[in-house]
């Protein structure tokens, strides 16, 4: 395997044109994903994590979305400039996506089997010989996929409608759809947020097993650092459209650097032990119609410096740990 990243988001900025002005949702971010890596993108509401997920598959309607700068290279191809036809070939075959609320992404008036067969027929490339699937083969393949995602009784559930399935089962169907094209990369946008913890544990276990089996890379988008800890090897922390820290899971939890990451970690109650007091992060998200220049966290940061109104530099602590914060630049110069 080459060292070339599978996915490389370079200096990417995205705006939304609104009646109130330009909403600067994503501000010059850089994210790389290696072949076979599982990357978590973590952040709170409004940090732009879902916007990134949708940008990867060009699912954002434009207008209002408008790319201001940057490239999204996937296997060397810029996803932002390729033709719509080429994009359709990539969706589902090279990059697949699963979403937070499976009910919204399944059509309520068709059986899950039919929807799965539709996807298989649309992604004819799954058959290595290049021949087309016959509808009967497609059905057999669909049932095979449903079995792989451990849906109980796949032959019978094939004819079920989405409302007849539980939330966890629907998410399994969505995963089966996403896997039907043997994608190289899976983008999971809050895949377990709508599920109960026992079901969340099942689905995370399943996703883990399947990415190993298929040798897929994954981007997991979530607000839950605990989920990241169970499934990802590397984490990107975002705040208000900027990447503030990029670290391995070990470095992030054991040695967080950015004040926002630290604040986030000390705000999480621990299910395994009693914590004396949680400290939240005072204040709220800046208005992204008119964000502060430089670091967007400066208004809520307890350690803010004057220089924070300029764009913070990237400080590298190791190959796998870097943060965008002036605090460490000062230390370096001194």
């Amino acid at each position: 395997m080459t060292d070339q990243p599978l996915l490389s988001i370079q200096d990417f900025s995205l705006d939304f044109d609104t009646f109130d002005g330009v909403y600067k949702a994503i501000d010059r971010i850089n994210i790389n994903l290696k072949q076979g890596e599982t990357l978590g993108i973590v952040g709170e509401t409004g940090c732009g994590k879902s916007v990134i997920a949708k940008s990867l598959l060009r699912l954002l309607p434009s207008p209002p979305a408008r790319v201001r700068s940057g490239k999204i290279l996937f296997n060397g191809e810029d996803l932002l400039t390729i033709s719509e036809q080429r994009m359709r070939e990539i969706r589902g075959i090279d990059i697949s996506m699963i979403f937070q609320d499976p009910m919204t992404y399944l059509n309520p008036v068709f059986t899950v089997g039919r929807q799965l067969v539709d996807v298989i027929m649309a992604h004819q490339r799954v058959k290595p010989t290049g021949e087309k699937f016959s509808p009967i083969e497609a059905k057999a393949h669909a049932i095979e996929l449903l079995r792989m995602v451990q849906l109980p009784n796949p032959e019978r559930q094939f004819d079920s409608y989405p409302h007849q399935l539980s939330g966890g089962m629907r998410q399994r169907v969505l995963i089966a759809q996403a896997l039907s094209g043997h994608p190289k990369m899976l983008v999971a946008d809050e895949p377990t947020t709508a599920l109960d913890v026992t079901i969340q544990a099942q689905i995370l276990e399943l996703i883990k097993a399947l990415i190993t089996e298929f040798g897929m890379s994954m981007i997991l988008i979530t607000h839950d650092l605990s989920v990241v800890a169970t499934i990802c090897s590397r984490v990107v922390v975002m705040y208000a459209g900027q990447v503030v820290e990029n670290a391995s899971v070990e470095d992030l939890f054991n040695n967080p650097k950015h004040p926002y990451t630290r604040g986030l970690l000390s705000a999480i109650p621990h299910p395994g032990r009693k914590v004396s007091a949680l400290s939240g992060i005072p204040g709220s998200l800046p208005n992204l119609l008119d964000p502060p220049p430089g670091c967007r966290f400066q208004e809520r940061c307890t350690q803010a410096l004057e220089i924070c109104s300029e764009r913070p530099p990237w400080i590298r602590f190791s190959d796998r740990h870097e943060t965008a914060c002036w605090l460490y630049a000062e230390a370096e110069n001194a």
């Binding site: 966890g168 989920v227 986030l264 970690l265 705000a267 109650p269 621990h270």
Partner: protein, 335 residues
């Protein structure tokens, strides 16, 4: 202070021509909450935890059982008792956005209950509301704002201000922080802790988030399909869960740390439909310790296995608890 005895809430979900179907949302729950306690009701969706909160305030009709509050039977309400109940028990809901009237300013929303229940008016009322906002950490400028001008955390603070306006004795909090970001959740949780100490409030805290429960509550009751399967002191239950469901639930929670504890097998399957409950123990269809012939036939009863701890499981046979004895399963006690 609050006593629920064999509370039942059933909903008739029959469809024409399909026979009778009863959804047993809450099926014989007994609980008691002392003054100053914060009791957590935990469980997955469909376990009936929110229904209990609503039933206490008569927001859903009761099917059976008794509710006592401060020694007064409030199972049925007359106008006087209802007035008292509405004053002393307040509820805070999950989504602060839909709990506030979008066309009312903050001062109107918060002062509504004061106007109904007290004689405070005019500048005194305005003063009282700004005091309340100050208590929840909001500046006075918010008085004449509308909900859409506030963030989620600020709206939840307004809901708390409204709930404590009449100095209630019991707050029912139905997932008060699950719509909020963690950094805001932490602030609200710390604030709720301080508030409880300051006004010696009691909390009935309904949540699916076990980490939050461990942080805030001193007692916990674990629910599964409309019944309590285990209850006790929070620390004791979290350190040494007895019921197989409690164990599975605690094991399923991911930890915010690098090394995850050994979890064993995750729980299989889904929660069964509360319309068509399995025979015997409700949990028998998913239980890793299921004993065929016993658990799938005979429902266990909630028994005290040690001081302050009650478990409803055939694995633990002990003396019957004072509360939680099911009338219809009284004969099925283990020998």
């Amino acid at each position: 202070m609050l006593d629920l005895i064999d509370l039942k809430v059933h909903f008739d979900v029959s469809k024409r021509g399909r026979g009778k179907a009863i959804l047993k949302a809450v099926n014989g729950v007994s609980l008691s909450l002392a003054k100053g306690d914060s009791l957590a009701l935990v469980g997955e969706s469909g376990s009936g935890k929110s229904t209990i909160g609503k039933a206490i305030l008569h927001l859903v009709p009761l099917t059976g059982g008794t509710i006592k509050f401060a020694g007064i039977d409030i199972t049925t309400l007359n106008p006087e008792r209802e007035r008292h109940l509405r004053r002393t028990v307040q509820m805070i809901f999950q989504d602060p956005h839909s709990a506030l009237n979008p066309r009312m300013t903050i001062i109107r929303s918060v002062s509504e209950s004061l106007i109904i229940h007290t004689r405070i008016r005019g500048s005194e009322l305005r003063h009282r509301v700004s005091e309340l906002l100050e208590t929840v950490g909001l500046p006075e400028q918010f008085l004449y704002r509308y909900p859409h001008e506030l963030s989620g955390g600020q709206k939840q603070r307004v809901c708390i201000a409204r709930a404590i306006a009449l100095h209630p004795e019991l707050l029912i909090l139905d997932e008060p922080t699950s719509a909020l970001d963690v950094s805001v959740q932490a602030q609200i949780l710390e604030f709720l802790k301080d508030l409880q100490a300051e006004f010696s409030l009691s909390y009935l805290f309904i949540s699916h988030n076990l980490a939050v429960v461990r942080h805030l509550c001193n007692k916990v009751a674990v629910m599964y399909l409309g019944e309590i399967v285990e209850q006790g002191e929070t620390e004791a239950v979290f350190e040494d869960p007895k019921h197989p469901y409690t164990r599975a639930l605690l094991h399923a929670v991911p930890y915010p740390q690098v090394i995850q504890p050994d979890r064993g097998q995750p729980l299989r399957g889904d929660i069964p439909s509360p319309i068509d409950l399995p025979p015997g123990c409700n949990f028998s269809s998913r239980c890793p310790d299921m004993q065929a012939g016993l658990c799938d036939r005979i429902a266990p009863t909630l028994l005290a296995i040690e001081t302050g701890r009650q478990v409803s499981c055939h694995l633990y046979g002990a003396t019957p608890a004072d509360h939680g004895k099911h009338d219809d399963t009284g004969s099925t006690q283990e020998t």
